[in-house]
């Protein structure tokens, strides 16, 4: 895909950081407000797709190689299953939330009923949210990138 007009590209430059921040906010507050790894990851992936549409697939693939994205995705996936295995290592069960109630990071248990938003709660959940968020961002962006780039490279082969 060739790149779009100058206006679209400048608007994208402005809108991209804002939507990235909002996406990471949704990922980080997954255990407090509605949202989480998948939803936040989808927001950030749509921001990256906006960049892809505005600047064209050739420029974007020049900027970020598809190999590096799939490595990022594998890391996110390993992080997620690693956190699950840590529950097993601590001797209880495969998906055990071992950080709840402990005095480490994210260990506080909020008061029952309508507790105030305190980010330092919910044990393993924020870490899992983060791992899944990275995985969804990298995964969805790779799908869009590969499809866009395949369409353009196919036209060159035909020429």
């Amino acid at each position: 895909m060739t790149e779009m007009s100058k206006i679209v590209r400048t608007i994208t430059n402005i809108a991209f950081p804002l939507s990235m921040i909002f996406g990471f906010y949704v990922i980080a507050h997954g255990h407090l407000t509605p949202g989480g790894g998948f939803q936040g990851g989808a927001v950030v992936a749509s921001a990256c797709a906006m960049v892809l549409v505005a600047f064209g697939s050739k420029w974007t693939i020049g900027k970020i190689k598809e190999k590096r994205l799939s490595v990022l995705e594998s890391l996110g996936a390993i992080g997620f299953i690693g956190l699950a295995l840590l529950g097993l290592v601590f001797g209880i069960a495969f998906f055990h939330n071992f950080l709840v109630g402990s005095d480490y990071l994210f260990g506080i248990i909020p008061a029952t009923g309508s507790g105030l938003a305190d980010i330092n709660t919910a044990g393993v959940l924020p870490l899992m949210n983060f791992a899944v968020g990275i995985k969804v961002i990298a995964g969805l962006f790779v799908i869009v990138l590969v499809m866009a780039y395949a369409a353009t490279s196919y036209k060159e082969d035909k020429k």
């Binding site: 190999k67 799939s70 299953i81 295995l85 097993l88 495969f94 055990h96």
Partner: protein, 518 residues
């Protein structure tokens, strides 16, 4: 010796971790990746055998994800592994291990191999998860993993138009089937607010909505298992996928068949004996429904196989016929649930799942070997391969005799059980089954002559035998077939018998979770 109680979770976690690591490892070196994948599968297979030994010794194993013991309203997901599910897990792990050994040199000159091995590991995790889970929604998620991974693998050779179209046809049918399963799970959840199979089976009152959910589940899973009315995807995808993928797909299809068994025998276990419409018990009704579809798929499979010219499509239609035999045994076991010959039929059907997976798998590997050596797929352009492909010819003969159910091979033992039990149920069934088996034998002998015998074709002058690793993989399958052909009681008494009892004994399955609780 006792094994740690989290083995069921490990059996699914290890292929997943392997799949997530393969892209990273394959950036290091290709050989290292192949070794890593085989290592992961060997560890997984040994864990499955250990768990099988433990289950056959002291009964059903349950494993709760996230907590040590069960809070009463069952909130967490739990794995419930009984003799039947570990039996299917054994088959799948053997098949995938042989497929990866075979594809070491079969896939040598293809690109994109790290994604190929990742998808095979994900497919293994999907099949093993589907087979061992005790939660309906979890069963749907693993069913989806199996369909997506196998669809991508079917379309592996994107340069061929048939594979891409077969992949598209497969994913459309799988997506539809999975949506029906999800709809049925939603109906069951809407009524009983429970997702656990044992709890649902315990609390089920077989209302009108449950009948609809049962129909949806049986239609969707039988469609995925390749039963006749919707079997068209099977010859296309088996025929145009690489041979190792056809082998692994046999395992994926059998997992959907296990899904039908688990739904009919356990989820609706209580409801089976109730007298449904026009005063015939539910199990007789469903049993005869499955028998009808089974006989239809045997006949269609054999007839369509007779007119094929492509080697792999021919074997694929043979596979459709073999799936018909499995459903015939299981349907007869269901229709005659109480009687002695009903149990024999069920054991025959389950034993045939094991035998057929290996027989059809061996034939696919032989077709792959011929394709690897001669780049030839259609039968009428092959000939006189026996001269310079000695071992492949021997393996083909073993596979041929096994699929047709001839005495020395394991196919004979299971088919004999099916014949004698369905004969007592209704003689016509046994007659049709025997006739189709003979037709199958005639058709494969025809293939044998056209492909292997005959004059030495000039263009096959320099054809040499396939590399060692492919022969080794085919050898494993052939030895297993011959061993269980000569002494079928080994596997019959201490694996197939408990599996059949586990299926029929659904109350024991339920008491593990609900009444007994942990």
């Amino acid at each position: 010796m006792n094994i740690p109680e989290y083995t069921p979770a490990l059996i699914v976690a290890i292929p997943l971790i392997g799949a997530f690591l393969t892209p990273l490892i394959s950036r290091v070196h290709d050989k290292l990746r192949n070794i890593f994948v085989i290592l992961v599968l060997v560890i997984n297979a040994s864990l499955v055998f250990l768990l099988a030994y433990d289950i056959l010794k002291n009964g059903i194993q349950t494993y709760i994800f996230g907590a040590r013991n069960l809070s009463y309203p069952i909130v967490r997901i739990l794995f419930e592994v009984d003799a039947m599910s570990i039996f299917m897990a054994i088959i799948s792990s053997i098949i995938v291990l042989v497929a990866v050994l075979y594809s070491w040199s079969f896939m040598k000159n293809n690109t994109g191999l790290d994604k190929y091995y990742t998808l095979i590991l994900l497919l293994t995790a999907g099949i093993l998860g589907m087979v061992m889970t005790g939660d309906m929604f979890n069963f749907f998620v693993f069913l989806e993993i199996t369909s997506i991974a196998s669809c991508a693998l079917i379309a592996f050779w994107t340069s061929q138009a048939e594979s891409v179209e077969a992949g598209f046809k497969y994913i459309v049918i799988s997506a539809m089937g999975a949506l029906f399963v999800l709809f049925a799970v939603a109906i069951l959840y809407g009524q009983y607010d429970a997702l656990n199979i044992a709890q649902l089976a315990d609390v089920m009152q077989y209302t009108f909505l449950d009948k609809i959910a049962l129909v949806l589940l049986i239609v969707a899973l039988a469609m995925k298992a390749g039963l006749v009315p919707m079997h068209m995807w099977l010859p296309d995808s088996y025929g145009s996928a690489p041979s190792t993928i056809s082998l692994v797909l046999v395992g994926a299809t059998l997992a959907s068949l296990y899904g039908v068994l688990r739904v009919v025998f356990t989820l609706y276990g209580n409801a089976l004996s109730t007298i449904a419409n026009f005063d015939v018990a539910v199990n007789v009704f469903i049993g005869w429904f499955i028998i009808a579809l089974a006989i239809l798929s045997i006949i269609v499979g054999v007839i369509m196989a007779l007119i094929q010219t492509d080697f792999k499509r021919l074997i694929a239609f043979g596979a459709v016929a073999e799936i018909g035999y499995m459903f015939l045994g299981i349907g007869a076991g269901l229709a005659a649930a109480g009687t002695a010959y009903g149990n024999v039929a069920l054991q025959g059907g389950i034993f045939h799942i094991f035998n057929d997976a290996l027989d059809v798998g061996l034939l696919f590997l032989v077709a792959g070997a011929i394709y690897y050596a001669t780049k030839e797929r259609s039968l009428n352009s092959m000939g006189g391969l026996a001269r310079n492909m000695k071992f492949t010819t021997v393996f083909f003969i073993i596979g041929l005799l096994a699929v047709a159910g001839m005495p020395p091979m394991n196919g004979f033992a299971s088919k004999l059980l099916i014949y004698e039990s369905t004969f007592q149920l209704n003689p016509i069934l046994a007659i049709v089954a025997i006739l189709c088996s003979i037709l199958l034998l005639a058709m494969f002998v025809k293939v044998f002559y056209s492909a292997f015998m005959g004059p030495e074709l000039p263009k096959f002058k320099k054809v040499k035998e396939v590399p060692k690793s492919m022969l080794f993989a085919m050898g494993i399958l052939a030895t297993i077939i011959v061993i269980f052909g000569l002494f079928p009681e080994i596997i019959l008494n201490n694996i197939v018998q408990p599996a059949a009892d586990a299926l029929l004994g659904y109350s024991e399955y339920i008491s593990q979770v609900v009444a007994g609780g942990i």
